[in-house]
């Protein structure tokens, strides 16, 4: 159905983008309003005559927001690196090698992606508490594996399958060993897929809420989603600061999405995988 787009179509698109982006735009406006304009009559005006960056300053000075950002960054990066490495081996084997039971293994991986996190939290919490890993980076990296490992295996399998099989045959004929084939032939071709997987895993780990909420309760180790949602003012919810923090979190994401949108979409739709 490749039709030409008419003016009404563009009107529709504009409305659609506006609706989707409206909350962000409103947060951005609110973040530069002075506190007095966040309440009362002026709360509904979509502009301000006295823009201020006080909220942004406050986010970093009055709240340990930088710490939250750093925690999230450390946890999400380490999780991403280690899961993608482990997953790429498994996915290579499932996608490219012939051995018994690989469909069963893939089935297990898929069903684990459907596990509700809440069903694993009580033993994981008790275990981490007993070994003293609550309030640590490792305490989040370990449970995040439940979410990220099946996800990355699932994604990588579909990427590895797209690489033509003739290449392996050729490598075989040339006398390359299994490992050589993997490192020198398959992996270089799989780099885009691995990169896509890494982006999606990073986003998943960055956004995780339940484990972060229960395991790292100390301010030192809170991640961004928890940190922001527990922002507390002295008398009321500090909406100005929250708006500013939201903008701070969203801007890098917007840049990332703009840069990598093609990859992200290909990752999301390959095998129609969940978030």
């Amino acid at each position: 159905m490749q039709k030409k787009a008419g003016p009404f179509f563009y009107l529709f698109l504009t409305v659609f983008v506006l609706i989707v982006m409206f909350p962000f735009l409103w947060m951005a406006i609110s973040s530069i309003k002075p506190v007095t304009e966040l309440f009362g009559d002026k709360a509904f005006t979509p502009y301000t005559k006295n823009p201020t960056f006080q909220n942004y300053v406050s986010v970093f000075v009055d709240f340990p927001f930088l710490r939250y950002l750093w925690n999230s960054f450390v946890v999400a990066s380490i999780t991403t690196i280690y899961t993608v490495i482990v997953a790429s081996f498994a996915a290579y084997a499932i996608a490219r090698l012939n051995f018994k039971g690989k469909t069963v293994i893939l089935g297990i991986v898929l069903s684990v992606t459907m596990f509700p996190q809440i069903a694993t939290i009580s033993p994981i919490y008790i275990f981490l508490k007993n070994v003293g890993l609550t309030n640590s980076y490792l305490g989040l990296i370990i449970p995040y594996t439940t979410i990220t490992l099946p996800l990355s295996i699932w994604l990588l399998v579909s990427f590895f399958r797209k690489i033509p099989f003739d290449l392996e045959e050729a490598a075989k004929v040339d006398g390359a060993s299994m490992m050589q084939t993997y490192w020198k032939v398959i992996l270089p071709l799989a780099v885009p897929g691995v990169f896509t997987t890494a982006i999606l895993v990073f986003i998943a780990a960055w956004n995780e809420f339940l484990f972060a909420l229960t395991i790292n309760t100390d301010d030192e180790y809170k991640t961004v989603p928890i940190g922001i949602s527990l922002f507390q003012g002295q008398f009321s919810i500090p909406w100005g600061e929250i708006s500013a923090a939201t903008v701070v979190v969203t801007v890098p994401l917007v840049i990332m999405v703009l840069l990598f949108q093609r990859r992200i979409v290909s990752g999301l739709t390959s095998g129609s995988v969940k978030e």
């Binding site: 490749q2 012939n98 069903a119 594996t145 439940t146 994401l253 095998g271």
Partner: protein, 458 residues
């Protein structure tokens, strides 16, 4: 793609042709043999991790759900299948109780009765010490206590066989009663202390907290659980249905060539990419009863009669939560369906329109059937996500007002971490797990083998 393979073959840097053929013969056998070994070797670490961090905890959750497990209660903070004795506690109690009674006897307060009680207590102590395998542990703890040393949990807890434990408990109870009687008839110099110590003695015996399926019985007969389950189903059904219809409509509309596709794609991805907690917070601000612009908008168009009702009434709160979820995930749904639509060859539509089929007819007989598996996969993942919804509701309404948006995950979380009742919470999480398993099985049955479709098997 074939060319690429040939290029490698013809690569001039490759070794002598004869060597290659020789090697390849040898290699082929080796490849075949080693292929499955390598396969298992490569899959092993991932599989092991999944077993340890995902499958084992689920089984453990089920195990915990059979116990009365409460983290804030020291005698119930662990799984106990048999009777145990906390020697630390016991030895912090018993000698002082005995000493206290001795004091009373010496000062002539009811010496006869107290002598009898003392007799009984020494018998109890003897019974504990004689119990199999306890003696060495008993002495060690005793020694450490006299030296004021720290005693770790492992050393302190010793297994007690059922008969001894029950008879000790019975006798301790008798001692308690008798002591109470003495105290009520006579004036004891340290009455409170003695009674406290003897009551504490019984607490050092840790009873097994295995309770079988009681948590499940309790939960299944409790209104709060059904209310939470109902909320979850309501939330999932409505939000997924709305997302599906809107998502499909959007996908159909934007499935054409137009200027600015990248922009649309990016704006679709942003709500999906931001943390749910952050988007929930954003909506909380927009829904605010006094200063929320969306609440004001809803009031202006007559959706609610007053802005403050949005988050303070049952239906208002549920609507708000669903609306926020629809905002966040409809674009994502549209994206998945768009990918499915783009795989449908346009020649089919051309043929259909030549045959005189209208737009609606084309949609029914071409689009829907060919989109079926994309639709079902998208539906499956969205339904499961909606069913285990947590962060959106936790941040936006906290399950309120009056539990009207409390979903089953929220309930399980509250039971586990606010009431520290891990046994019951685990039972709830097992219930969630079972629901999720049923939903996925239904979908997988509908999907057939499409989901695991292995294209590498030619």
């Amino acid at each position: 793609m074939k060319n690429q393979a040939l290029n490698i073959d013809n690569n001039p840097e490759n070794k002598d042709v004869r060597v290659v053929t020789k090697k390849s013969k040898k290699n082929k056998g080796k490849w075949k043999r080693s292929e499955s070994t390598y396969g298992y070797l490569l899959v092993a670490p991932a599989l092991l991790l999944i077993l340890m961090i995902a499958i084992w905890p689920v089984l453990q959750s089920f195990y915990y759900s059979l116990f009365d497990l409460r983290l804030n209660n020291p005698t119930k903070s662990e799984v106990h299948l048999s009777y145990n004795i906390d020697l630390d506690r016991y030895l912090n109690n018993f000698p002082f109780l005995l000493g206290g009674i001795d004091n009373e006897i010496r000062s002539g307060n009811a010496p006869e009765q107290l002598e009898k009680i003392k007799q009984k207590l020494t018998e109890i102590d003897q019974k504990v010490q004689d119990s199999k395998g306890i003696k060495t542990q008993y002495d060690k703890v005793n020694e450490k206590l006299t030296n004021f040393e720290q005693i770790d949990q492992k050393l302190s807890v010793a297994k007690l066989d059922k008969d001894t434990a029950q008879s000790v408990l019975k006798e301790v109870n008798e001692v308690n009663e008798e002591l109470g009687k003495v105290a009520s008839t006579m004036k004891l110099s340290q009455e409170k202390k003695l009674l406290g110590l003897s009551a504490g003695l019984g607490d050092s015996i840790i009873k097994p907290n295995f309770i079988g399926f009681k948590h499940y019985q309790d939960n299944l007969s409790e209104r709060r659980m059904w209310n939470a389950l109902g909320n979850t189903v309501l939330f999932s059904v409505i939000s997924v249905a709305v997302e599906l219809v809107l998502g499909l409509a959007i996908a159909l509309l934007i499935n054409k060539v137009f200027f600015g596709r990248g922009l649309i794609r990016a704006s679709i991805l942003i709500p999906w990419a931001i943390p749910t907690a952050v988007s929930a917070l954003m909506w909380k601000f927009l829904y605010d009863g006094q200063n929320g612009i969306v609440a004001k908008l809803f009031e202006d168009i007559g959706l609610v009669d007053s802005m403050s009702k949005l988050l303070t009434t049952d239906t208002g709160a549920m609507f708000s939560v669903i609306f926020a979820d629809v905002w966040k995930t409809t674009p994502y749904m549209a994206l998945l369906l768009l990918a499915g639509l783009q795989t449908i060859p346009s020649s089919l539509y051309e043929a259909a329109s030549i045959d005189g089929a209208g737009k609606w007819r084309q949609f029914i007989s071409i689009t829907l059937p060919l989109l079926k598996s994309s639709l079902l996969v998208a539906l499956l993942f969205r339904t499961l996500d909606a069913f285990r919804v947590f962060d959106l509701i936790y941040v936006l309404t906290g399950g309120g007002p009056a539990n009207s948006t409390e979903t089953i995950s929220i309930l399980a979380y509250k039971v586990m971490f606010s009431q520290t009742n891990f046994g019951e919470g685990s039972a709830l999480s097992v219930i969630i797990f079972i629901c999720v398993a049923i939903i996925s099985m239904l979908f997988i049955k509908l999907l057939g083998k499409d989901l695991l479709n292995d294209s590498s098997e030619k």
